[in-house]
Chain length 115, copies 2
DNA sequence: TTGACATATGCACATATATTCATATAATGA
DNA sequence: TCATTATATGAATATATGTGCATATGTCAA
């Protein structure tokens, strides 16, 4: 008996199965959540939600190595969650997406109400 | 020179550093995002957003093994994102949190607008 | 009580990923 | 040009995590 022979109990299952979002679209969403699902990156986003900062100051704020911060920022930039601005040697990072703030706030309140 | 000797450029860095959320609270939020950051779990949530379903039907909808679905559901239940209802042999799963729908929708639109 | 169906769980394995270390690139001022 | 400061990147390692397999638990019908 192969996988195709599974018998559904609720006919709605077929409808929902057919209406699932496409794999690549799903990948985009999960990748977004994965990006948010890391203490370092989330802390960076929270910090940048207050103000733009350079890599050095983010290193100080989070208390992590410059390399770790830089790697995290590259991931965030790849997801277009942060953008950069250069002023001489210094590169300033800031949030690149209004949604992030909203989603962040929602998640925070979601957690708090759950307690 | 130790980590404490990092010199900040922007005095706001100190303010933001002091206002960071507590580690355990941060863990809660990232754990929540991690839970959402998986294709199987997210697909389950999307399916349950349409209707409650039993494990068997979710297995059919996602085309995965019963074990994989069950494991995923345990994680979701641990995060209080789904709840269960038993009817005889069958256990029905449904969303346990209004926020999830909202956050899901936001993430989906976030992705779409970004293209 | 036995068999069939529905779901859960422990273990093992494979894959993904965050961090560190070392080093590279880039910009500035002397 | 050289030294210094700021940031990025590649490789290696350690840890986390999703899935399949086998099996356990639970429920009902006969």
């Amino acid at each position: 008996m192969s996988k195709n022979d599974i018998k559904i109990h609720d006919p709605k299952a077929q409808v929902v199965k057919d209406s699932l979002i496409k794999e690549d679209e799903l990948d985009d969403v999960t990748t977004f959540f994965k990006t948010m699902g890391d203490n370092t990156r989330l802390n960076i986003l929270i910090a940048l939600n207050h103000n733009e900062f350079c890599v050095n100051d983010l290193t100080y704020i989070l208390g992590l190595s410059q390399s770790a911060i830089s790697h995290a920022l590259m991931t965030l930039r790849g997801q277009k969650l942060v953008k950069t601005r250069r002023d001489g040697k210094i590169i300033y990072y800031s949030l690149d997406d209004d949604h992030v703030t909203t989603i962040l706030d929602m998640a925070l309140s979601h957690i708090k109400e759950r307690r």
